[in-house]
Subunit: 139 residues, 2 copies
DNA sequence: CTTTTTGCAAATCTTTTGCACTCTA
DNA sequence: TAGAGTGCAAAAGATTTGCAAAAAG
């Protein structure tokens, strides 16, 4: 079982608030930097600790970016298992429903004698905005 | 375009051979250790360099394990995009076909204005053997 | 010989930890 | 005031990189 933090601190709130505002996936360092820019005095370790906490509480979604670093975001759908279509460039993300992978996975598992199956599925792409920006600027 | 290595070296062959033999996903360090055990004199950096090379050439599949480390394996299906059902414990893996994610992903992408979509999908579980072992020993 | 590869150690990078100190309840 | 929570710097891991020496063609 996951136990909720017992105390409310300025730092914890700051992290939670930041996540509540932005809908993009971002890594711990970006979040830390953004908090600093706002004048919040928070240590990087604390950001990591609180992000981990929020993830455990199911209040924040975490996924592994292409580079292997963890990306965080607060999602609307807290209950159901869902996936994301994430912009490689800016981190903007759309929550998408699970295309009955659940069943498919379970069936495959049985077929091959596997148990306790879980799956990871993420879609990466370029969002309209970034795509436009790319055409204009570089390339 | 990816360019093939120009020279064949003992170390490169050793890495390729090891991958050709085993069907489990394993990380670079494990591969390095295994080569050493066999008496092969190879540096860790070289293992990393060659694994990266093999991945670029499409001869080896790489995926991010749960802990974020890269796992490597040589797959039978070199052509088609496919996924894996991997044992969390021993790394044993089964190649599974893509459950028309391709289309689903493309459709979603269009709907949300995303382009150049790619996806990652991996199934993790406990293989029959490891499951048995777990029941017997620990737990 | 020329150029690719290697080995090793040092450098990166992300994330975690130890520990004394600071707040919350 | 007790103990959760924090900051900072050090530690841990995984992977990369610089560079001189070794090997391939």
């Amino acid at each position: 079982m996951v136990q909720a933090p017992t105390r409310s601190t300025r730092q914890r709130q700051a992290v939670a608030e930041l996540l509540a505002e932005r809908t993009e996936f971002r890594n711990a360092q970006q979040i830390h930097a953004e908090l600093r820019e706002r004048g919040e005095k928070v240590g990087l370790a604390t950001v990591y600790r609180n992000l981990g906490l929020l993830v455990q509480l199911g209040q924040v979604d975490m996924l592994q970016g292409a580079d292997g670093e963890a990306l965080y975001r607060q999602c609307g759908q807290r209950q159901h298992h869902h996936h994301h279509l994430v912009c490689r460039q800016c981190g903007k993300a759309v929550e998408v429903a699970d295309p009955d992978l659940e069943q498919w996975a379970r069936k495959l598992a049985v077929q091959h004698g596997f148990s306790e199956v879980s799956h990871t599925l993420e879609l990466f792409g370029l969002c309209a905005e970034c795509s436009r920006a790319a055409q204009a600027g570089d390339d």
